[in-house]
Amino acid sequence: MDQILGNIGLLIDYPVVNLKIVLDGVMIGALFALAAYGLALVWGVMNVKNLAQGDFVIAGGYVSWWLVEHGFPALLGVPVAFIVMWGIGWVIYKLVISRVIERDLFTSLLATFGLAIMMAQIMNLMFGSDTQSVDLGYPTLHFFDGFIDVPIAKLIGVLMASALAAGVIVFMKSSRMGQAIRATAQDARAARVLGIDTEKVYAFTFSLNSAICGAAGAIIVMVWIIQPFYGISYSIRAFVIVTAAGLGNLPGVIAAGLGIGALEQYGAHIFGIGYQQAVAVMLLLLVLLYRLIQQRRNRQVLK
C-alpha cells in the first residue's frame, strides 16, 4: 500500500513523469488501436468475434523478424507482413471463418479460440518460445534532463501505424470495395439483393483485418518484444477497445486505443509492472460493467 501511495506521490511531485507515461502509452496504444480496428471491422461486417486477433499480430511480428534474421532491412517487414498475413487470413477465412458466419456468436468465439491455440503453438514450434525483437539501431532522443526518452524507432512505428490507419480510412471511404464492405455491414441481405457478392466481401474483410494485424505486429516487433504466447493479451486489449468504443466508430476506436495504452502504463507505474496484464483485463471488466449499467437504465441488456 505504501508503495502504491509513494508511486502516486511521485506522479504529483514530478509532473513530467506523467508526460512520459502518457507518451509511452499513446505510442503503444496506437498499435492496440490498429488491432482493435481490424476486430471492429470483422465484428461489424460479418458478426464474427475473432479471439485469434492477437495471434495474427504476433504472426505478423514473426514474419518481420524472420526477414531481418535473413538479412533483409527491417522496415521492409511491415509491407511484407501485410501481404503474408493477407494470404494467411484468406486461407483461414476459407477453412474456418466462412463456416461460422451464419452461426451464433459463441460459435465464432470458440472456433477462433481454438484457432488462437493452434497458431500460438505452431509459432512456438517454428520460432521457439524466446522473446524476440528487431533492433533498428536508431538513437534515442532525450528531453527534460533525461526524464523522457523517445526512441526514434518508436516514433517511426507510430508514424507507420498512423499512415496505415489513414490508408485504411481512405480506402473504406472512397474505394468501390470499401463501399461494398460498408453496405454489407449495414444490411447483408439488401447488399446481396443489390448485386454485391457478400461472400467476396467477407473474404476480403477478414483478409484485410488479418493484414492490418500483421502490419501492426511487424511494427510491434521493432519497438517492443514478441513471444508466441503473447497473442491473447492483444486479443483482450482489442476486445476492451471495441467494447468501449462500439462498432463502426473509427475515431472512437482510435481514442479508446490511445486511452487504454495510457491507462495501462499508469496502472503498471502505480501498482507495479506485475499488474500490467491484470490492469488490461480489469479495464475490460470495468468497460463491460459500465456498458451494462448504461443499458440497464434503458431496461436493456448487453447482447
Binding site: V96, G114, I232
Partner: protein, 345 residues
C-alpha cells in the same frame, strides 16, 4: 427407472469401483478423467441447459484450490509464514490435521465458490451471449493475475501442500475415489435437477429469456442459483486437485484459462450440449484424444487440440449425443412419424 437403465447404471458404477484396481498404472489418468467429467457436467448446467456460455468456470476451480489449501494450512499454522517458507519442510501435519483440514477445506472451497458465483453472477448476468463469455473469461484471467501478485498466498510461486500421509499408491486411489464421489454426486444431482420444475425454468431461460421473464420466472434468481450449484461442484473438484497435485501455482495450474478452462467447453460440445450424458461422453472422448496426442504427437499436441476444438465447433456442434438423437430418436423415447405426408416433398 426401467430395467435396462438399472443394468447400465450398475455396470458403470461397478466399473468405477474396479477401475483403479484393474488399471493401477492409470490411477492419475482416471482421476483426471473424473475431474473432466465434473467440470463438463457443471459447465453444461449453465452452458447447455441455461444458455449462458461461461468461459470463466475455471475461476471456481482455481479459487477452490486456493480456498481448500488455505483452510487446511490456516487451521494449523499461520498462512503467511507457511507460504513464505515455500514448503520448506518445517511444517508437519498430523493425520487428523491433514484429513480434517482436507474435509473442511474441500467443503469450504465448494461453499466459497458458490458465494463467488452469486456475487460475480449478480454483476455479469446482465451480459448476454458472447459478452457473457468474454466477461467471465476476463474474471478468470484477472483472478489469476491478481493472485499471482498476492504474496500472502504464495504469489507466482503458488502453494506446496503436505504430501498424502501413507503409501503413494493408496494416495492415488484415495484421490481417485474422492473425484469419483464428487463426479457421481454431480451427475446424480444434475439428473435430478433437470427433471424438476427448476430444470424446466432454466431451459425456458435458454429458449427465450424475455418470455420466461414475462411468464413470471425470476430469471436472475434462477441464473444465480444454477451457477452457484455448478460452482459448488467445481470448487470441490478444485479443492481435491490441490491435494492431489501437492504443489500448484496460479497461472498454469489454478487459473489455467486456456487449458482446463477451454477443455470443459470442448468436452460438452463434443458430447452434446444440453443433454445429461453428453458431457460425460464428451469428457471421456476428449480425455482419450488428449492423452493419445500427448503420447504420440509430442510437440504437436496443442496443435491437434486446437484443431479438435475448431473441427468440433465448426462441423460437429451437436456432439455425439445430438448425432445419436438425430439418428436413433427411439432410444431417447422420441417418436418420429415415419410417414411423410404425400406431396410435401
Amino acid at each position: 427407472m426401467n430395467r435396462n437403465k438399472t443394468i447400465l447404471y450398475s455396470l458403470i458404477l461397478a466399473f468405477t469401483i474396479v477401475a483403479p484396481f484393474a488399471f493401477p498404472n492409470f490411477g492419475t489418468q482416471l482421476a483426471t478423467l473424473w475431474l473432466m467429467i465434473i467440470v463438463a457436467i457443471t459447465w453444461d448446467m449453465t452452458g447447455g441447459q441455461m444458455g449462458y456460455n461461461s468461459l470463466g468456470n475455471i475461476f471456481f476451480y482455481g479459487t477452490g484450490m486456493y480456498v481448500a489449501a488455505l483452510i487446511t494450512i490456516g487451521l494449523t499454522y499461520d498462512v503467511g509464514d507457511y507460504t513464505s517458507a515455500a514448503g520448506g519442510g518445517i511444517y508437519e501435519f498430523t493425520d487428523l490435521e491433514y484429513f480434517g483440514g482436507m474435509a473442511l477445506g474441500i467443503l469450504g472451497a465448494g461453499l466459497f465458490c458458490s458465494a463467488c458465483a452469486i456475487v460475480i453472477g449478480w454483476l455479469t448476468f446482465g451480459l448476454r451471449g458472447p459478452y457473457f463469455a468474454i466477461g467471465t473469461l476476463g474474471v478468470a484471467i484477472a483472478a489469476g493475475e491478481l493472485v499471482s501478485n498476492w504474496e500472502w498466498v504464495g504469489g507466482g510461486q503458488g502453494i506446496a501442500l503436505p504430501v498424502y500421509p501413507g503409501d503413494f499408491d493408496t494416495g492415488k486411489t484415495y484421490f481417485y475415489f474422492l473425484f469419483a464421489a464428487v463426479g457421481i454426486g454431480a451427475f446424480l444431482f444434475a439428473r435430478w435437477l433437470y427433471g424438476t420444475r427448476f430444470g424446466s425454468a432454466i431451459n425456458a431461460i435458454r429458449d427465450d429469456e424475455e418470455k420466461a421473464d414475462a411468464m413470471g420466472i425470476h430469471t436472475l434468481r434462477y441464473k444465480l442459483y444454477t451457477w452457484a450449484m455448478a460452482a459448488f461442484f467445481v470448487g470441490m473438484a478444485g479443492g481435491i486437485s490441490a491435494f492431489q497435485l501437492i504443489h500448484f501455482e496460479p497461472l498454469e495450474t489454478a487459473y489455467q484459462t486456456i487449458n482446463l478452462g477451454i477443455f470443459m467447453v470442448v468436452c460438452v460440445l463434443l458430447g452434446g450440449k444440453g443433454t445429461l450424458w453428453g458431457p460425460v461422453v464428451g469428457a471421456i472422448l476428449f480425455h482419450l484424444f488428449k492423452e493419445v496426442t500427448w503420447n504420440y504427437l509430442l510437440g504437436w499436441q496443442w496443435v491437434a487440440l486446437g484443431a479438435l476444438i475448431v473441427v468440433t465447433v465448426v462441423y460437429f456442434q451437436d456432439g455425439v449425443m445430438g448425432w445419436l438423437v438425430h439418428k436413433k430418436p427411439e432410444w431417447f423415447g422420441i417418436r418420429v412419424e415415419k410417414k411423410v405426408a404425400s406431396g410435401s416433398k
